[in-house]
């Protein structure tokens, strides 16, 4: 579904992403792991149109979409979340979700002025959908709370919720489990599985929690210093000496016990 073909991004002298190539298969939950500074977030930024690649191609369904604006990619079904939650702090949790659905009639000035009935009907449908997502994520209790006041974990859920407010095809999750307690983590894992099976979302997930990666992801791609180091099943990855070395020499340990420590 997505082909990352020799993609690079340099920041001055830093090669954040350096000649990176791999595929995200349709229907898969692909894991993306690697020590801090490996270039994972930068790669997501390029896939979602927030950062322009210095070189390389990004194919979505065979079409090169490198350098497309974020909203264009969104309309092609590609949605991302942020490592650090980006909520609309002064808007309610509900509004944070209601803003998302694309092509709302009431987003057009002319329609808002002359087709108010239609705008209102659509608003009802959007609200119903947002309420469903809130229920699914157990956020109904904070429905009318300002999003800026939610806990870190709830903001993570809200990030995920945003991807559920559109008919996404590919969802890029940047550390959905970071700073989230065990119960919430189990919930997020369940939500991702459900979306993958029921709605057919393709996922690519950056995560440091190896339990979560092992449970959800196949295949797993390992990045280090901007490059793809290895890929395969979690069992294969764990045995790969290069991976072990990258982690030992790097900041985190691929073993579950200390997996959540880094961010």
């Amino acid at each position: 579904m997505i082909t990352i073909d020799q993609v690079s991004r340099h920041f001055g002298g830093i090669r954040a992403v350096d000649d990176c190539s791999f595929n995200i298969q349709a229907g898969s939950i692909t894991g993306l792991i690697g020590p801090n500074g490996a270039g994972k977030t930068t790669l997501f930024g390029m896939l979602a149109g927030f950062i322009k690649p210095t070189a390389g191609r990004i194919l979505l369904d065979g079409r090169n979409v490198a350098g497309f604006a974020p909203h264009r990619l969104f309309h092609l079904g590609l949605v991302r979340t942020f490592q650090i939650p980006h909520e609309f702090a002064e808007m309610t949790t509900l509004e944070n979700l209601m803003v998302v659905p694309p092509r709302q009639a009431g987003e057009r000035v002319g329609q808002a002025w002359v087709r108010w009935g239609r705008v209102r009907d659509q608003e009802r449908a959007v609200r119903a959908r947002a309420e469903e997502v809130l229920a699914f994520l157990n956020l109904t209790a904070v429905r009318d709370e300002r999003a800026g006041r939610l806990s870190g974990g709830q903001k993570k859920l809200l990030e995920l919720g945003r991807t559920m407010m559109t008919d996404a095809r590919v969802v890029l999750l940047d550390e959905p489990g970071a700073g989230v307690n065990r119960t919430l983590l189990a919930e997020i894992t369940r939500a991702i599985q459900a979306l993958n099976v029921k709605r057919g979302y393709t996922f690519c997930i950056i995560e440091h929690d190896m339990d979560m990666i092992a449970e959800l992801c196949h295949p797993v791609v390992v990045m280090a210093q901007g490059r793809v180091l290895a890929s395969g099943s979690m069992t294969e990855i764990r045995k790969d000496p290069r991976v072990v070395e990258a982690y030992l020499g790097g900041m985190i340990d691929p073993e579950p016990a200390s997996g959540g420590a880094a961010s």
């Binding site: 969104f74 609309f88 808007m91 009431g106 945003r162």
Partner: protein, 314 residues
């Protein structure tokens, strides 16, 4: 000005200007209050609106372009289209730059407009100004021209208020609030941030142009001297911030409050000893500045702070 014989006439005069400033302040609210777009060229949009309708509706004259003797309605519409296009042009020029640069660009436009009004005599009659701008409802109700025109201005204010308030409550306004709060997240939510910003800026500019056009038809004579542009810009900003940025009712309340007080300061400075008279203008601005400080100290978000809109589907 048309005199001010009685208190009533003065009241009508005051109310008309308040209505006009209210429209302009509503325009700024769409730009700044909804969207966070800085405009330091408000006076220029106002002037351009006034001049467009003046040229379009006045009788032919050798001293400036036209006039074309068009109906007032046509002149006002042209004024709005013209200022809308001006707003669009500024957006397109600054589009790739950060929003702070927009502020600088609007200062540039204000300066260009100021010089243009003075120096492009073929177009604007230069410092002589344009006279004989028709008053649209003259003679409609004999003896009550000023009052009828006040009615026109207040009707326009109401229309602009309703149109803009509806946009605020619609998903359109929600997207703008989202952009203002977190641009990256708005992009991640698939919104074409640039397009929404342009729409907001153009709509705001059109309201300012409408205000300028209504002003031209009110005073019937305009000249560069009549537009102390920086000063109009300053007043409108104070109106919005004192009234409540992000709140349309606040914008109107701010216009009423500040204009009344502004007129009041004239009474005060009028009683100053003679050697102070030259400083009267600066003193008035100072007084308004102090007032703004007081309002912001007691009500940080203005008299009527922004509130989330009521749901539209309940």
């Amino acid at each position: 000005m048309d005199g001010g014989v009685g208190l009533l006439n003065y009241g009508i005069f005051l109310a008309t200007l308040i209505g006009i400033y209210g429209i302009v302040t509503l325009g700024l609210n769409v730009q700044w209050g909804y969207t966070g777009m800085f405009n330091l060229g408000i006076g220029a949009f106002f002037a351009v609106g006034a001049y467009i309708t003046a040229i379009a509706t006045s009788d032919p004259s050798p001293s400036h372009l036209g006039g074309f003797g068009l109906p007032t309605v046509a002149g006002v519409i042209l004024a709005m289209i013209g200022t809308g296009l001006l707003g669009l042009a500024i957006c397109l020029v600054t589009i790739t730059l950060r929003t702070d640069y927009l502020a600088i660009a609007t200062i540039g436009i204000a300066e260009i407009v100021r010089l243009g009004l003075k120096n492009e005599g073929w177009l604007t009659a230069g410092v002589r100004g344009i006279a004989g701008i028709p008053r649209p409802v003259e003679g409609l109700v004999p003896g009550f021209d000023a009052l009828t025109y006040l009615g026109v201005v207040l009707a326009a204010l109401l229309l602009v208020y309703l149109a803009i308030e509806r946009l605020y409550r619609a998903p359109w306004g929600r997207v703008l609030r989202a952009i203002r709060e977190n641009e990256l997240a708005a992009q991640a939510a698939g919104k074409n941030v640039v397009q929404f910003r342009i729409e907001a800026f153009v709509i705001g500019s059109m309201a300012m142009g409408l205000g300028g056009a209504l002003y031209a038809h009110f005073v019937t004579f305009i000249s560069p001297e009549a537009f102390r542009s920086e000063f109009a810009t300053f007043l409108v900003w104070v109106m919005l911030i004192a009234g409540g940025s992000g709140n349309n009712r606040g914008a109107v309340v701010g216009a009423v409050l500040i204009w009344v007080i502004w007129s009041g300061t004239e009474l005060i400075t009028g009683r100053l000893p003679e050697d102070w008279v030259t400083r009267a203008g600066a003193l008035r601005v100072l007084m308004i500045g102090v007032l703004l400080q007081v309002i912001l100290l007691t009500r940080r978000q203005g008299v009527l702070p922004e509130r989330p809109p009521r749901p539209i589907d309940e």
